[in-house]
Amino acid sequence: MNASERQAKYYAGVKMINFDLVKEMILALFVVSLVVIGLAAALSSPDDPAVTIQTWATKDPVDFVTTAASELAGTSETAEYGPPYNNTADAAQAVGPISPQTWAGVGTPIDTAQDFVLRPLGFAAIGNPTLTSALQAYGAAGTDQQQTWLTNYSTALSDATVVNAEVSVASGDYGPVPDLMTGLLGLARTGALDGLLLSNGNLYQTDFTLPLLFMGDGSYLSNLADEQHLTGDQWGMMNETGMYPGQTWLWLFSFWYQIPPFTTAANADLVVILLMIVLTALLMFVPFIPILRDIPRWIPVHRLIWRRYYQGK
């Protein structure tokens, strides 16, 4: 049986009407054009400028220095993230034996102390005797000594003040750490740190992993996001800056993060992903799933859609 015969048989007993698909398409295109052009002209689109490390260091130097110190100490979120950035015990998300994060391994290795602090400072130290000797003193000290200085300094930072654009803490045993932080803050304020974190020796770059992770470890970026209701526990995935609609189609993905146990679970991301994969598969296989495929019969929306046909019968 060819297609014509099959269709004639399928539509046996059904009235056929003239229908112009191409005209319908052109008409739809015309109406959509008016709507899209009208909305674009009337409402424009959002474009809140990106936060840079320079902005961060200038607007919230205490948060910047606190974050930098935690990178040096290896206590920041990135430093303790686990794969793909490093091998931190028990950091990877898992559901029982299922842990794709672990299986994938360290594909993007990052040494937070080196990559975010010491390497950039190495460049800034050229021609800067204070910074050079601070780096030497820090490098020469043992790991325990470094950790003592950093722990003391981080504790003191909770009461830090900003004096003459410098971060000032009560006196204590911090070794060369304050000089290192002053150096990094200075580098950040000039904008040079944005460039140094991006560059890997090549002129051209498109990989923003280091600057984004560094900013993500601090509070400045997330505080701004919080003001715009963009954080995970504010249905942030669905939202947009300003008065613009966001990605409303992500409502179900966002939903899980708003309810227990996902609100506090360490493996929430993995669980939500697995859940959404299952739900998407369910949606895809609806034609084969009892109950799901029968709901259209039980909730008779179709009797409205096809009322002409049913009335004619």
Binding site: W235, M243, Y244, P245
Partner: protein, 53 residues
């Protein structure tokens, strides 16, 4: 349009007014599509056994 939107909250639900308007609008459009009459089309009278053209 760049000032932050107003958000409405109820229990754990937190939604921006623009998003709410979007979703409400979609439901309205669906209901209108269900209920609004569709222009009639002429019934086809000649049989469909013309060769491919």
């Amino acid at each position: 349009m760049d000032t932050p939107a107003t958000y409405l909250s109820w229990n754990f639900i937190l939604i921006s007014v623009p998003n709410l308007l979007m979703i409400a609008g979609m439901i309205v459009v669906f209901l209108v599509a269900l209920l609004a009459p569709f222009p009639g089309h002429a019934e086809v009278t000649e049989p469909e056994d013309r060769p491919d053209e």
